[in-house]
Symmetry: C2
Subunit: 343 residues, 2 copies
């Protein structure tokens, strides 16, 4: 029982009865060595607990197994959830994901990209801030590092975009609200940072026209990422002002809707589909908390799983093709209407 702590791959190769290059190959890709050899290594691995020095590994590798995941705001459960799923997918695929959040700050987003560049990642999954992003910085980054955009599209940037079909979201909610009652107005922030918001407004206008109803867009004030607070304040104004053109509200996203519902509750205005309610509300995203609002929120749900899987898959393809791609692809997933009690 030689209780000799293994210090490097040389020593570990010795105790597994192999040469260092072979062991190196194994750690690079376990399937690249013969089964019997793999056994030898894995036996030794159990007895001696060694793991390669990640810094030495990555220093000389052209391509690391690192993958960067960047989201605009990790404290938003929506992004936390999707980042979590993507992270899991990357690990399954044998990569080492690292998560970053710019917390709504464009400068921090740029810093993250710089840090990532120095990490020589195999690829990056990036959900950009949107309107606030420094487009040229992101563009520059995408030229150096294989990058797949998700959630927020920046036209023409990155090798691919994977996201949700905003038209499908709004189409379903508007159609449902209209079919079961009055056609909705659209409740949104005046200057949304996220490009999806703009697409959703456009989709709302399109659908309303198609259905032959007059559109009403309510734009509320507010900057930053405190959407619930913004939604609540905006709803307070909207609700106390009265004189609503319709009794159906479609919020641009769930976080605004959460604020809206809080305002309605405080004002004693019943929201829901029962006869005693004066307003009906629907929204988009299926935020993790939307099933616990009062009333629970009718919303168009992202296909989280598909978006995550497709993003990662796209990135893996891109990596395997050496970062080259013939044309930028965009993949959009349909929404799934989730009927709850708010409409």
């Amino acid at each position: 029982m030689t209780e000799h702590r293994i210090k490097n791959m040389e020593e570990f190769a010795a105790v597994s009865g192999l040469s260092r290059p072979t062991v190196s190959k194994y750690f690079n890709d376990p399937a690249s060595v013969r089964a019997s050899t793999r056994q030898k290594i894995e036996n030794a691995l159990e007895k001696f607990e060694y793991q390669p020095n990640i810094y030495a590994m990555n220093q000389n590798r052209k391509l690391t197994k690192n993958v960067g995941i960047v989201v605009p705001h990790l404290a938003d459960p929506f992004f936390a959830e999707i980042a979590r799923t993507i992270e899991a997918r990357c690990i399954e695929a044998g990569y080492r994901p690292t998560m970053f959040s710019s917390y709504g700050d464009p400068d921090q987003e740029t810093e993250i990209l710089n840090l990532l560049r120095s990490m020589k990642p195999a690829g990056v999954l990036l959900a950009p801030l949107g309107r606030l992003s420094d487009r040229s910085e992101i563009e520059k980054f995408c030229r150096d590092v294989p990058t797949v955009l998700f959630d927020s599209n920046l036209e023409g940037i990155g090798a691919a975009f994977v996201g949700s079909d905003n038209f499908s979201f709004v189409n379903q909610t508007v159609e449902y609200l209209t079919r079961t009652g009055e056609a909705p107005l659209f409740f949104e922030m005046k200057t949304p940072a996220n490009p999806n918001a703009n697409k959703r407004r456009q989709a709302y206008l399109d659908v309303m026209q198609r259905l032959g109803h007059e559109p009403h867009v309510v734009k509320i004030e507010g900057e930053g990422w405190a959407f619930e607070e913004i939604g609540k304040r905006g709803a307070m104004q909207f609700l106390t002002r009265g004189n609503w053109p319709t009794n159906a509200i479609l919020c641009s996203n769930d976080r605004l809707a959460i604020g809206f519902l809080a305002a309605a509750y405080e004002l004693g205005i019943r929201v829901g589909r029962t006869p005693d309610c004066v307003l009906r509300l629907a929204s988009n995203d299926d935020h993790p908390f939307s099933r616990f609002t009062c009333p629970s929120l009718t919303t168009a749900a992202h296909d989280y799983d598909s978006v995550s899987s497709a993003s990662v898959e796209k990135l893996l393809q891109l990596i395997e093709s050496g970062g080259k791609y013939s044309s930028r692809s965009e993949q959009l997933f349909e929404a799934r209407l989730v009927l709850r009690n708010s409409s």
Copy 2:
């Protein structure tokens, strides 16, 4: 205009008119070189955009500038928020934080610690899972790496613990509820994973005894991290059963309370402090969403800022003392009672 891309520190040292060891010293600690030298480097830095290879840097350094931040569940806005604050503090202090989340899984927590160990971090800030954590693994890890525990205490493990004073939380909420109405019952999960939950129950029992009221603890079923769902289901049962010993509820944490309020709303049971309400509810944590519940939630707030600052400060002290400490310290911060509409 020599558009020559700098490849390594040697080249960068050349263009800044210095020797490599000096430049190396600068990157290790900018204050360790003469002011005029620092200027030279920073001038060159603006013209030539070079950043040292992080892998080569860390390979041979006894201690990196890396700091690990580990939380039990990043998709929980509470942890996302505290992780965010801690991350910012670390960056301010010149360290490079990396965030990890075990997502409630003990195995993943252990894996994270193993990965961290191989990153040779200067220190780690760890909020362990709690009851589910593999104590021996964490203990082993803390022997190798300077570690400060936060949020959840594991007695005797790590160099220090920084958290909130659960007694102060419960003391304030119980005292408030009792003073303004009936004494509360305590609503919690049967087998809470988080040690704070146990301390809160104990604090509740203590306070009730001190105030001369009979305690009532309602324990609801449920495993995992879907606290809102668990709270809602448990509240559904509790509320439909009727025959409540008191009209005041103290939830162990806000996420349970969010579920409780959702259940009450669905059942048409009014919660709040107005005369038309049949129940009053308070809770602990001041979860980011607790101001948007219906009604908004009266809760005992963590001193987020102090906990984050103190944790990081403690870790920095620990790092500067070479990871040595004479005795394990515990630092607890008082709660701040936030009165909203639920009681």
